[in-house]
Symmetry: D2
Subunit: 343 residues, 4 copies
Amino acid sequence: MIIVMKPGSQESDVNEISRVLESLGLGVHISKGTERTIIGVIGDKRVLSDVPLELMPGVEKLVPIVESYKLAGKTFKPEASIVDVNGVKIGGKELVIMAGPCAVESREQILEAAVAVKKSGAQFLRGGAFKPRTSPYAFQGLEEEGLKLLNEAKELTGLLIISEVTSERAVEIADKYVDMFQIGARNVQNFQLLREVGRSGKPVLFKRGPSTTIDEWLNAAEYIMSEGNYNVVLCERGIRTFETATRNTLDISAVPVVKNSSHLPIIVDPSHAAGKAQYIAPLSKAAIAAGADGLIIEVHPNPRCALSDAAQQLTPQSFDDLCRDIGQLAGLLGREFRYGKGE
Amino acid sequence: MIIVMKPGSQESDVNEISRVLESLGLGVHISKGTERTIIGVIGDKRVLSDVPLELMPGVEKLVPIVESYKLAGKTFKPEASIVDVNGVKIGGKELVIMAGPCAVESREQILEAAVAVKKSGAQFLRGGAFKPRTSPYAFQGLEEEGLKLLNEAKELTGLLIISEVTSERAVEIADKYVDMFQIGARNVQNFQLLREVGRSGKPVLFKRGPSTTIDEWLNAAEYIMSEGNYNVVLCERGIRTFETATRNTLDISAVPVVKNSSHLPIIVDPSHAAGKAQYIAPLSKAAIAAGADGLIIEVHPNPRCALSDAAQQLTPQSFDDLCRDIGQLAGLLGREFRYGKGE
Amino acid sequence: MIIVMKPGSQESDVNEISRVLESLGLGVHISKGTERTIIGVIGDKRVLSDVPLELMPGVEKLVPIVESYKLAGKTFKPEASIVDVNGVKIGGKELVIMAGPCAVESREQILEAAVAVKKSGAQFLRGGAFKPRTSPYAFQGLEEEGLKLLNEAKELTGLLIISEVTSERAVEIADKYVDMFQIGARNVQNFQLLREVGRSGKPVLFKRGPSTTIDEWLNAAEYIMSEGNYNVVLCERGIRTFETATRNTLDISAVPVVKNSSHLPIIVDPSHAAGKAQYIAPLSKAAIAAGADGLIIEVHPNPRCALSDAAQQLTPQSFDDLCRDIGQLAGLLGREFRYGKGE
Amino acid sequence: MIIVMKPGSQESDVNEISRVLESLGLGVHISKGTERTIIGVIGDKRVLSDVPLELMPGVEKLVPIVESYKLAGKTFKPEASIVDVNGVKIGGKELVIMAGPCAVESREQILEAAVAVKKSGAQFLRGGAFKPRTSPYAFQGLEEEGLKLLNEAKELTGLLIISEVTSERAVEIADKYVDMFQIGARNVQNFQLLREVGRSGKPVLFKRGPSTTIDEWLNAAEYIMSEGNYNVVLCERGIRTFETATRNTLDISAVPVVKNSSHLPIIVDPSHAAGKAQYIAPLSKAAIAAGADGLIIEVHPNPRCALSDAAQQLTPQSFDDLCRDIGQLAGLLGREFRYGKGE
């Protein structure tokens, strides 16, 4: 960290800051420029997290040099991590596709969806049982009943199960049914919840929030990892901008940026980013071309009857077309995706 | 709601949609333009919240005409609401100021802060006991111990107590100690938590999220109100934009916009918006001039020793100067604030 | 267009509005809902562009139904446009790559860059002669001297020339030297300049502004097209958001959204979006996978000596590797790019 | 400036950078931390503006310490500047109000507006003669004819005249008629135009762009000032964010931030920020309370007949009410505004 002093700061101000830093075991390096004096702080800056240096006399601002997350960063672990979810490896050569309806609605719907997405090559079945909805008057999910139906679909197809958890109670219930927890965008800084899934040790798909920087997102991942759970897979799902032609703005650059800063795998959710089914295929291909380790896509056996987010769910046929394209793209990019392996 | 049909839509598409709407008890009004046919939907559109109209053949898009929240809106209750918190009325003629440290750190700190802010005229003591922090390595709050210290400060000064709750467990614990719950910006769409404080019936200060539109914020308030708790006070605290000179961008327009759309009181938090103590006084005056019903401000007896958000906490002296200015401004604007009434 | 009336509007208000609309030759369709009356306006709404309907008594708001641009829209021309620039067709089966240094700096630099990018398959040489720079103290371009050097490179390699114009004077000068004008992001709503390149009739590469919605961008394209110049190619180059890990946020969704709303070709500029050379290859592949008609990429024979935007310029070797990948990707997507055809 | 080296950088990399810096006459200060080596650069970094340091081997990133503008900054001139426009001082004790219609439409309209705003105390008459409009089909202004009408209004009332210039040609024409040029938000980085008004020497009202950071805005002001014209008054008019309840989001914090970084006066345009007449009064009071040196407000003798931006123009009566309130507020804040002095 660099401490930039104000133009008129005193020598005594610099001395006092040096004294505080040294008392905390940190090294100090002073550099006098033509307009400003700056102080370089040497050592583990975490001892400073509760010291209000910016209020000390003469201080203009603090400039961080090293990122504030540790466990999620490449400095901590330079090689890419592979998260193994009961045999399916995320972050390796194989692309992973998670697919299924926005919400579990009925036994018939989820089994039909499971059979369809399995056939096209998906490795995971997704389906919301606890649904966070903008309006309290909309369908809120089948809760445990929905999780039981997901489990039935798993027994039928062999697909792994991923479902969103929205509270500590939901974690407790879902723990019995799912292979991987999903933390949704609205809960990206619900730190109690992050700790809870951290303590569970179970793999977590961790979505970026709509107004979370990549740096804050990796810091939030640190809440899960600092509980000892390193099985974190990141998921870019669009950020909020001024553009309204799509539901969110897919930040495709987040894929290479995360690959550059973190060892964690990253997949992309084109459904929530686009908000419209017609844009899902081009955005999915773009994500894979940019280096993503997989996709999570909403597929509904009959989107016109869906109880939530109908506009952004693919039909099984469109999903199958997309998986075929992804299979071809994978080969070109040195990855693998066994299209239709489910048959 | 208006349903806009695609340029090439068929008469049969329009008929099918009409049939669905009428089967749900809604009225239908068809209008053929030169380029598009549009269908006006008449009646309570909440019966449509789970019907995927946008996927019916021939439909281009849906255009909402009436806002989706009810209880928080002026159509439901045209006159301004006054929220009474154990005798202090928020939303009436009197301006309400909530002040205190970002986090409760020690008995000495909170009592000193309480005496100081009381003296300047604040009606509420604020102080975080459950602290959501961006990094897991930073100070996370004293939890129940902190709430007990707040209560001691209340007994000493007569100030009302407000503190943030971040989980269902925190609501349960804090319920014994606080006069008003605070829901922080990160939890604006933590719907389980909103329901929980809704069920408690206790007044809630409900902060806007950094990327929440005013419309979504009022919809989220609906989660609290739909549990029967109408004692909601809104709090604008800055939104996330591309500008980095301030921590967030204070959306001062939210004050008149909320006054125009909702009957709920609204106060402003200049501390989190600015992120720097030097900007708090001008933003506070701006908020009151724009019509806010009060302020929530971070004040620390010794900011240089603060364990969190040090840069944005005022000293008791700066806070007193600000309260004096607010007192004068209040008179000019037809409001009241009894500066120094605590003495 | 739909006119939404206020809850308490009078029958006489509706009658007065109807009278005004009918006097302008427009049709009127009135629909009374349970909470609001709405008025559908039938006909060409351009006659309304200067009528302040939103101020008429009883009016709450206006809701546009049809987009406000005409010539740029698919309603005007449903099939995709192909822009022919002296024999190179943009928007057809073949992918088009424009490449070269950010700024023309010297004869040696531009000739070396031209030979290199030609070899890898680029069809256009880019190079800034008029440079808009954030700081007035930075290198501002060689102006006409730079254009002459571009022309020399054209004679040597046969590449077409594209260069940015920043004022009416620049248009006049550049007209003698370039095959295609570029309008940069900062001038997206410099309407005088748009009209000027419109009047020239020469093909225009029209970049999106950093805070321009797609709708506004197409409206701005209308300024060029309404002068009779339909040879417009759009270029997505990233928008400004709160994320700072990249220089701008590449709005990859703009590619399918534009393809859905407009008949104009669209290419992508990954260099300005990313701001860092290491992200250019993944973003380029993502753009092509999403359906873009081409790319414009900064390539410098020796980026370490570049006089502007050094960090985002590729070396000829990295550019060649990328072109090879694009060539393979093209085949898979049903497009063509003759990698290395320049040899 | 600080140069942050990559974790694995070599001693030779550091030596090479030092050599380059020293050859440019800069001082070098090397500091080795536990994870990174950083290099402090001492001297006037403007000699570096065209040196691609970020591409030198081993460099991770550059961190600016001192802002890049000079003439606009407080380091260059610590005391506040007062811009004298033919006798009216902007930035001193007196608040300055500029008012008038969005566009000059007719002799009757502009004279009526002038008389009205003069009466309420405005010192400047505003009125657009060159109108940049989003759609090419909307009214584009009366051009020189409009400027002549403004001049007639000046002779009648003694008000100073301000009007927007959108091109070099417009500067040339307007120079004969106006007391102060206005550069609109869309032209904030039209550097040719900025230079042109810089060379004219005439006072300039310089609006912030909708996606311009305060830092970029001050850098752009530098283009005007580096031509020797220091008579620049800044104008905050709202930035583009995700919120759509207002046309733009008024960044009220820009007022104290600019006061902290620059010596230039700053006024606020609540009309373009709000986009709705009903929000103009609260935002105007907020701006003055936050420390702005004045306001620019759209006033139309009959908004319902306005040819552009009708929804955001005040009636003379509403404007007069607002001026009365501003007069009272001024006194309380140690400023002056002689409400009604025009009578």
